[in-house]
């Protein structure tokens, strides 16, 4: 398992290939990857730049916990997460999640689990700047966040 939280821009597919070099050859049957990229529009408003705030230390800790949880739940070979913070521009990769497994079903399940839980648990906050220079913190766009965290803890306990 490898988790990197960095300010520098990255090439997600170079990261996948570099990490794969460290794995035994011929053992994995599939790699499922998700690359989240910055869009130039959010909820109907144009966005020209984005700043990603984070809580150093807590971020890594919770992403690692999510990856470890995925490895407990599914039979996977390894996982890699790279997540940026700081200033981002449209089309920039924000996050990469890649999962190597013998069989594809486990890879899809684990990759989706990691990105879903990362988005719920890893302390990152997006602040968007419009072309007019207006800044706003992106708000959580689903139901009450506390209830969601409670659901997550409950799901983790009962799994």
């Amino acid at each position: 398992m490898k988790v990197v939280v960095q300010e520098a821009a990255f090439d997600p597919y170079k990261e996948v290939q570099a990490f794969q070099e460290s794995l035994p050859r011929g053992k994995h049957g599939g790699v499922v990857s998700f690359v989240g990229t910055m869009r130039d529009i959010n909820e109907g408003v144009d966005v020209s730049t984005m700043y990603l705030d984070h809580y150093p230390g807590m971020t890594e800790k919770h992403i690692e916990a999510v990856c470890a949880d995925a490895a407990d739940r599914w039979d996977i070979i390894d996982s890699l997460v790279v997540h940026r913070y700081g200033e981002l521009f449209p089309n920039d990769p924000i996050v990469l999640v890649a999962v190597w497994s013998s069989h594809r079903a486990e890879g899809f399940d684990a990759c989706r689990f990691i990105i879903n839980y990362l988005k719920k648990k890893a302390p990152f906050w997006k602040r968007e700047t419009t072309p007019e220079g207006e800044q706003r913190w992106v708000e959580h766009n689903s139901r009450d966040a506390k209830a969601e965290v409670a659901d997550l803890e409950e799901a983790a306990r009962t799994a």
Binding site: H54, Y55, G57, V95, L118, K119, P123, W125, K126, H140
Partner: protein, 78 residues
């Protein structure tokens, strides 16, 4: 009891700082007590998330000497 308080994102803007060191007189302290002193009596915004030493918790949790208590809005990464 000495506590470090940290704020992120909109909470940092609201509080006007990212970090503060607090000294509390009480022997037994909860997150709610820390917030009350740090915010000078402001109500804790409804959706605020709380972490003690980088683990999620809630306003009733006990706080110990040297703990880092963080207050922040719902997360929006990924």
């Amino acid at each position: 009891m000495n506590i470090t308080v940290r704020y992120f994102a909109g909470m940092r803007d609201r509080m006007g700082c990212s970090e503060a060191n607090l000294t509390l007189d009480k022997g037994s302290v909860t997150v709610a007590d820390v917030w009350a002193q740090a915010s000078e009596g402001q109500p804790l915004p409804d959706s605020t998330l709380i972490a003690i030493n980088m683990e999620y918790t809630d306003a009733d949790a006990s706080v110990c000497e040297g703990d880092e208590v963080a207050f922040f809005p719902p997360v929006t990464g990924g």
